[in-house]
């Protein structure tokens, strides 16, 4: 997949090691899940190129990411929530969709969501996960909405698959878990196998189908210090913006049965500061894309957090920024702990981290 370069051998060894370790870690998880229920579903508001929409977000339980089964990303615990066996039939997937519609009716009443977002903790466009039939059925189910977002690794982004949606009149975006524009970080820290070039190719394919790209970035994978992580995100957002109309830059949270959790548990990892998220958002307003962030578990030890005093306020500012793209929202929040964050940004090295908890 990756182009030949002097790091190949090392990278191969690194990938093998990461995968081996991740498999061992994941193997400790004993739980299984019911394939007739979606993993999660919720309602929200989202900023899109066409404005702010009510959104219905669906995490489909598709049997999990194939890559994760090989080992997978160092921070990803979603595979842990997948069904045993690894594939989910068309019927069950459609049962999950029905459950989601039910959820929408219960919580939003008459007002249906114009934006549908479907994630699978894998690739919706991978037909081994979601058969073409199912994809088409889902497209038809949501044909009365404005826009749909589907998650996929870049490999599976093909014009033909996307036209299933455009043909029923849906605007479509492919959500790509790029994580970072820096191949080295994506390979060695995240353990994700594709290259930025693959992302560009996927973007071309989407373009050809009249679809958009929503890039997902990961702030602070393991092995990066806080300032390195911030730097990587600033650079990545600017590079992505050339290929994606929206960038969702999300701080790593510590998920169960992951390598990140191992580091976290032994004192070798701290999730990024919310100030770091704010810093990146403020700094990259020049990038030609909507940039948003949704810190999961903000304020908790395992999620992106500051000092405990200001977490909710900063989270609110981020949410506000997501909708308005106005960096002055961050001028409204301040806290004594900014001093600490400044010091961390100035002092934390990759050989002396984390410098705070």
């Amino acid at each position: 997949m990756s182009t030949p370069n002097p790091d190949v051998y090392e990278q191969g060894r690194g990938m093998d090691a990461h995968n081996q370790v991740m498999r061992d870690i994941r193997a400790r998880n004993q739980r299984t899940y019911d394939p007739s229920e979606p993993t999660r579903v919720w309602l929200d508001e989202d900023n899109t190129p066409d404005g702010v929409y009510q959104s219905l977000t669906i995490i489909l339980n598709t049997g999990g990411c194939r890559w994760a089964r090989a080992g997978g990303c160092t921070m990803c615990g979603y595979v842990a929530e997948s069904v045993e066996g690894g594939t989910v039939s068309h019927e069950l997937l459609m049962e999950q969709i029905d459950a989601c519609l039910e959820h929408e009716r219960e919580n939003a009443g008459d007002e249906s969501s114009d934006l549908i977002k479907i994630y699978t903790s894998g690739s919706f466009l991978d037909e081994r996960e979601v058969p073409a039939t199912t994809r088409q059925a889902i497209a038809s189910t949501f044909s009365d909405r404005e826009r749909i977002v589907v998650e996929s690794l870049p490999d599976f982004v093909e014009r033909e698959k996307l036209t299933d949606f455009t043909e029923v009149g849906l605007d479509v975006d492919v959500a790509v878990g790029l994580e970072t524009a820096t191949d080295r970080v994506r390979h060695d820290c995240v353990n994700k196998y594709f290259d930025f070039d693959d992302f560009i190719k996927a973007s071309d394919a989407a373009d050809a189908a009249g679809a958009g790209i929503k890039a997902y970035l990961l702030m602070k994978p393991p092995f990066l210090s806080e300032p390195e992580a911030v730097e990587d995100m600033k650079r990545s957002i600017r590079r992505c913006a050339e290929y994606a109309h929206t960038v969702s830059m999300n701080p790593t949270n510590v998920q169960r049965y992951t390598m990140v959790e191992e580091l976290y548990h032994d004192g070798g990892y701290r999730p990024p500061w919310l100030w770091s998220v704010a810093e990146v958002l403020q700094d990259t307003t020049d990038a030609d894309a909507i940039v948003v962030s949704d810190p999961v578990g903000h304020g908790s030890d395992r999620g992106s957090h500051n000092c405990g005093e200001c977490d909710d306020r900063v989270q609110t500012a981020i949410k506000d920024f997501n909708l308005r793209q106005d960096p002055t929202v961050f001028d409204q929040v301040s806290c004594e702990c900014e001093l600490t964050w400044d010091a961390i940004m100035e002092r934390e090295t990759s050989y002396g981290m984390p410098l705070s908890r």
């Binding site: 390195e228 010091a343 002092r347």
Partner: protein, 582 residues
């Protein structure tokens, strides 16, 4: 390889080192402004930096934070280039080794500091894996409270990052712990930041204070190392935090690591202020050598007596009285906490005349256990025609009774109330009536032999000085001759110092020799580490050593341990006393 780091003084695993930058840094110390990070290979490709002598350059690295799996470490391990400037390599417990750098940065520091057993296991492992004459750096972890323990375990370099950040977080750090700044009514410190008073003191001042407190504590640690008294300090200071106490106790359990780094002798007094003192290497080693190396050569009965506060015991009033009563008719062995038992020949031998302990009249169960164990072993090795215990009631008596049960020996007790009453002394005198006296010469010969046993190994006294020797001088400054002078007792340490003739006799004997093999040169005053080809692994700082090379035969006192001599490329290894050209 280590061109920019040299160890000057040692106190257990702690050392005073010198990082030879443009402005030298004397370690243990903060490296704050004198480190240049060439960067992480996780985030970017890097080229070997230029580097110069103004700073320690951290070579491009992939650090493995605490919790990284060893498979990942192996897969991503980097090769460090050989460079011509002061450099540091980033390592983990797994990848620790000789990478040719002057300093090594342990990337899992944040995961081991605060966890006694992880900390001790990791540091002893790493310190053993990297060359002795390189600095070990722990970044982002030092606080005024923990830095003495960190240095004690063998860490040389730190930075102020943790202390500084902790201050910004509102924690006021001192050598005795950590307080919420907001809980403080006043500031218990005299540093410049604290001079402004509590009301004007904010978190940035707190950060500044924390760094000052850390620097002060490091100066204290350095002074304690120079004085050979860091362990004494820790027995107090480390008690302010449960993990630090646990750390030094667990380090005591790493006996062979500590033993290798602990000198045979010191000038300073060893303060035994808690039961933990009994587990110090100095104490355990003395007890061990008395039980396994020393043997009694007198034919007279044993007279067990209590120790005295004054050292050496023979200079105390009570021992003067015992001496008068015994009148050369018994072998005096002193019982003491925390040393165990001290045969009269070893009263001058470190630490028998170099300790101070807390006297309250009460013996702890630990003390009774320890002394009873040592006395039992001692009596299993040394047989006497009679066993007289001139000891007071209480702890001493209890120990004797325990030992009687274990060994089957029956003591003749000569004290009813206190050992120095006229009645008790008369009892002792009478109990010994009719016993033969040993001669002054016998006493001197046996002292020389006993010290040889203690210092060199079982039977060394007999092997080296068994026959045909003569002794002159006054105890403890005795000189041993055959035809020529062989050795002297060094009075302040109670150890033997050999002449070349003595060294040859040692080499020719069946007693294992502590030997340093050197390159073809004639050492002047000292042998430096780079000139050493090989050295016995059991050499300790302060040991007598025989030096042999194609061009010289010499004798001297070790300034490094044997393993340190063979892995060091800098520093004084042996102070040479006498040398012959070949």
């Amino acid at each position: 390889m280590t061109d920019y780091f040299e160890v000057h003084e040692r106190d257990g695993p702690a050392r005073i080192g010198e990082l030879r930058l443009a402005d030298s840094i004397h370690t243990p110390a903060l490296i704050d402004d004198s480190i240049e990070d060439a960067g992480s290979l996780w985030s970017e490709e890097r080229t070997t930096p230029a580097g110069d002598e103004t700073a320690l350059t951290v070579l491009p690295h992939r650090s493995f934070p605490a919790g990284t799996d060893t498979e990942v470490e192996e897969a991503f391990a980097v090769e460090y280039p050989t460079v011509e400037f002061p450099s540091a390599a980033v390592i983990s417990r797994e990848t620790a080794g000789d990478h040719g750098s002057d300093a090594y940065i342990l990337s899992s520091a944040s995961g081991i500091v605060g966890h006694a057993s992880k900390f001790v296991d990791t540091i002893t492992d790493v310190r053993t894996s990297i060359p002795a004459d390189t600095a070990l750096l722990l970044s982002g972890v030092a606080t005024p409270a923990n830095v003495a323990t960190l240095a004690y375990a063998g860490v040389d370099l730190f930075d102020s990052d943790r202390a500084y950040v902790r201050g910004l977080e509102g924690f006021y750090l001192t050598a005795d712990g950590e307080e919420f700044l907001e809980d403080l009514t006043e500031l218990p410190c005299s540093c410049p930041a604290c001079q402004r008073g509590r009301d004007a003191f904010d978190r940035e001042h707190c950060a500044e204070h924390n760094v000052a407190a850390l620097e002060t504590e490091l100066a204290r640690v350095r002074e304690r190392i120079r004085a050979g008294r860091l362990r004494d300090y820790l027995e107090g200071q480390a008690r302010h935090d449960a993990w630090l106490t646990a750390a030094f106790r667990r380090l005591d359990q790493q006996y062979s690591y500590l033993e290798q780094h602990t000198p045979l002798l010191r000038q300073s007094t060893l303060l035994a202020a808690s039961d933990d003192s009994m587990r110090r290497v100095e104490i355990q080693r003395f007890a061990d050598r008395v039980c396994t190396r020393y043997r009694n050569r007198f034919e007279q009965p044993l007279a067990l007596v209590p120790c005295s506060a004054r050292k050496p015991y023979s200079e105390s009033q009570s021992h003067g009285q015992f001496h008068d009563a015994i009148h050369y008719r018994a072998h005096k062995v002193s019982m003491t906490s925390p040393i165990g038992v001290v045969p009269q020949e070893l009263e001058y031998t470190y630490p028998a005349q170099h300790y101070d302990s807390v006297v309250t009249g009460r013996w702890s169960a630990e003390e009774i256990d320890f002394v009873a164990r040592v006395l039992t072993e001692y009596l299993e090795q040394n047989e006497y025609p009679r066993y007289i215990a001139h000891v007071p009631p209480g702890g001493y008596r209890e120990i004797c009774e325990r030992v009687e049960k274990r060994t089957g020996i029956e003591f003749e007790y000569t004290v009813s109330d206190h050992p120095t009453t006229a009645e008790s002394l008369a009892n002792l005198r009478e109990t010994l009536s009719g016993e033969s006296k040993y001669l002054k010469r016998e006493r001197e010969h046996n002292t020389v032999r006993a010290i040889a046993d203690y210092q060199l190994g079982p039977d060394a006294g007999t092997e080296l000085f068994g026959t045909e020797i003569s002794v002159d001088g006054w105890l403890p400054s005795l000189r041993v001759h055959d035809k020529e002078q062989l050795a002297t007792i060094v009075p302040q340490y109670g150890t033997l110092a050999f002449t070349l003739a003595g060294a040859r006799r040692w080499l020719d004997s069946s007693v294992p020799t502590k030997r340093v093999e050197i390159d073809p040169f004639v050492p002047q005053g000292s042998v430096l580490a780079p000139g050493i080809v090989d050295a016995s692994a059991d050499i300790r700082v302060g040991d007598e050593v025989v030096i042999e090379g194609p061009k010289a035969f010499a004798v001297g006192r070790a300034s490094m341990s044997g393993p340190e001599m063979t892995t060091s490329t800098r520093g004084i290894a042996v102070e040479v006393r006498h040398v012959d050209e070949r």
